[in-house]
Assembly symmetry: C2
Homo-oligomer: 415 residues x 2
């Protein structure tokens, strides 16, 4: 029988072997006293198994403070626990409750993070995964030999549909491949969702008629389920190619239901992610996280960017990009969305560390606030990436490209 294996990074004041077995027990048979009805046969078939324990360092203070634990030493380890798929089959919420449910509450742990998940082959038969992913996104935007260049409508919230459309037109003419709503914008008092779709798609369709290139616009359809389905249809009817969902806010079953419609590229925004990952010994690591959203069918997922304005380290960003690019099923991959304080200057380090252009490379202020306007901003980003792929340094590229040079002057103070 197939098994699903989860990898955890843990910290415990207890004996490691014992702590791992408490976790496995809690997440399969689970109660605090031996009860009638729990036969050996049952245990063999449905019990979670401790597959591996790799001892790491010990520390003097617990990573997560606890009133209930008093100890002089806390032991860290990587552990692997497996479950038979007979326990939950292909039920994603049940998989989640099994892999990241009550185990976070166990007082036997002063730190616990879900690092990775190994899915069995039969999951490939049961889940479509991303319908579009990298290949479908490239095809829709007609961009093949460089990262797709995207931007975010800013200010995040406040502009009318008409003002937004004027900006979209400017960006489309400037040659941007992708534009997205901010995650704070969906349907505001002065910018109803449908009005925004009408105004924006008119501009995008007109521009596509003129030059054959349809900008991908990710409309933020995040809302209650029926509204999301209505908005999805509205975008589709208007000729749109993409819908954005705040995956943590909407939740797994809502996201899966939308992805299952299968006609629009799904742009997954991970806002709230810091809460799930920011502590080194609590929550979930991106490698595991992105697999869950791929099972749900998300095509594009945010990963922050090199030298981002947020807390996340460059090493973590690189690991996230690599996770997205690793095939899960049928060779399909997830398009990593690079953003947060990007302006082109980071293209060199990004390419040097990942050796890929399979990216949706997003800049907000980095495009909009370029001295030559959005056209200059888009051009500067394309130049930066051309330079990076050709092995130029940032300094070499700034001398070769006029628009990129202006970006360096404006945004590159710390570069």
């Amino acid at each position: 029988m197939e098994r699903i294996t989860a990898k955890y990074y843990i910290e415990t004041p207890n004996e490691l072997e014992k702590a791992a077995h408490v976790l496995a027990g809690e997440q399969s048979s689970g109660t605090f006293v031996k009860i009638p009805g729990e036969t050996e046969e049952l245990k063999q078939r449905f019990a979670a198994r401790v597959e591996n324990i790799t001892l790491l360092e010990s520390v003097k203070e617990p990573s997560i403070p606890s009133n209930k634990v008093v100890a002089t030493s806390y032991h860290r380890a990587n552990i692997e626990i497996s479950w038979s798929i007979e326990n939950f089959g292909y039920n994603l919420p049940l998989l989640l409750s099994t892999l990241q449910g009550n185990l976070y509450e166990l007082s036997q742990f002063t730190g616990l993070k879900l690092m990775d998940i190994d899915l069995p082959p039969s999951y490939e038969e049961h889940f479509n995964g991303p319908r579009f992913g990298i290949a479908g996104s490239r095809k829709s935007m007609d961009v093949y030999d460089r990262p797709m260049i995207g931007t975010i409508i800013k200010p995040s919230i406040g502009m009318s549909p008409e003002e937004t459309a004027v900006l979209v037109k400017k960006l489309a003419i400037a040659g941007v491949d992708f534009i997205k709503d901010d995650e704070l914008q969906s349907s505001a008092a002065n910018s109803k969702f449908e009005d925004r779709v009408d105004a924006i798609m008119k501009v995008i369709n007109d521009q596509a008629d003129k030059n054959g290139k349809k900008v991908m616009y990710a409309f933020n359809i995040s809302d209650e389920l029926d509204n999301m389905l209505r908005r999805y249809e509205y975008v589709l009817k208007a000729g749109g190619t993409c819908a954005m969902i705040s995956v943590n806010s909407v939740g797994l079953t809502g996201v899966k239901k939308i992805c299952d419609q299968g006609k629009l590229v799904i742009h997954g925004h991970r806002n709230g992610w810091g809460m799930l990952n920011r502590h080194p010994l609590l929550g979930i690591e991106f490698t595991a996280y992105q697999k869950l959203w791929r099972l749900a069918g998300v095509d594009q997922l945010h990963v922050n960017g090199i030298q981002n304005k947020f807390w996340e380290s460059d090493d973590s960003v690189v690991r996230s990009i690599e996770a997205c690019l690793k095939p899960l099923f049928r060779g399909e991959t997830l398009l990593p969305v690079i953003s947060s304080g990007q302006w082109g200057g980071q293209a060199f380090e990004t390419y040097s560390r990942t050796k890929t252009t399979d990216l949706l490379y997003m800049a907000g202020g980095g495009i909009m606030a370029h001295p030559d306007g959005p056209a200059g901003g888009v051009m500067a980003l394309q130049q930066a990436w051309e330079g990076a792929v050709n092995g130029l340094t940032l300094e070499e590229a700034r001398h070769q490209y006029a628009e990129f040079s202006k970006s360096v002057q404006k945004f590159g103070v710390k570069a």
Copy 2:
């Protein structure tokens, strides 16, 4: 115009006023450079406002480690930020993305927790809240003068529908008010959901025909959306009164969609909660969390219990119970579900600290492993609560009640 106010507990190496304004900026206008189109009028209408900052202590080490921050002092504070409801209206996922989105990623903070949310009066008109809550749960179980007593099917997973039904029959005869699936059980290889409903509801309906009391059974319908809706109907058709959802695993939009069906009591299981709350300066506090699930329509929500087997402190449990019992809209309240290592011994402390019997008081092993069997276990719990409400101490109650006395002997080693 109405505003929504969120309270955060924060820690920052920066000047507090500045850090609070970075948060407000990121969660409304949001970019790292000044851009054209951002007028003062726009800002006034849609910008988040810093309403209050209450300085607390400073510490020498950051609560959450960060490579990007080097400082000698980290300042803690309670802050309040408000948004106009013009920004997101009654869109719950947008509310979530606004209140707990990218802000967790800001490097300006080395700790950030959403503590509470103040909702404006018009939210009452737009959201039904729990359809059943405490009053509806009591009516369905026909229990008015004491806590509702519940139990969990254990082992969590592994029993056949028939074996489960035998156990349910024993529990129903024993006089239990409520039984639930474990969150790890929904439809396993040897226990299909529908078979389980058939077998269990036959027993429960038979028993109700005999003595007029229908045990509330919370079937775990957690799954993808269409399956959940199918299972919901299946439970309803079989005469069931309750469905259980793992709220974090299913997600906000899926949970809301199920609650909106309005015919079954919704038992909200919060497994995964430790990940969101366990760190004192990361995530979300229960006071805020339970309001979101009330908006979605959940009727019953887990809060752990006094002297639970998990990490959570008694103080935190008491605060959670109080939060559930505080009316949100129309005087409606949320039924707190007490569980984790409960056996009746905790009734005294629970009652003394909360002065309420508006509880669903759950014991797993505490009922099943009672020396006299489940009937003794249920009776012992009722006795413990009767004693607690009458002002007896545990010691006094053990001398008064035979079954409770046996519980003390079996489970009360530490009491």
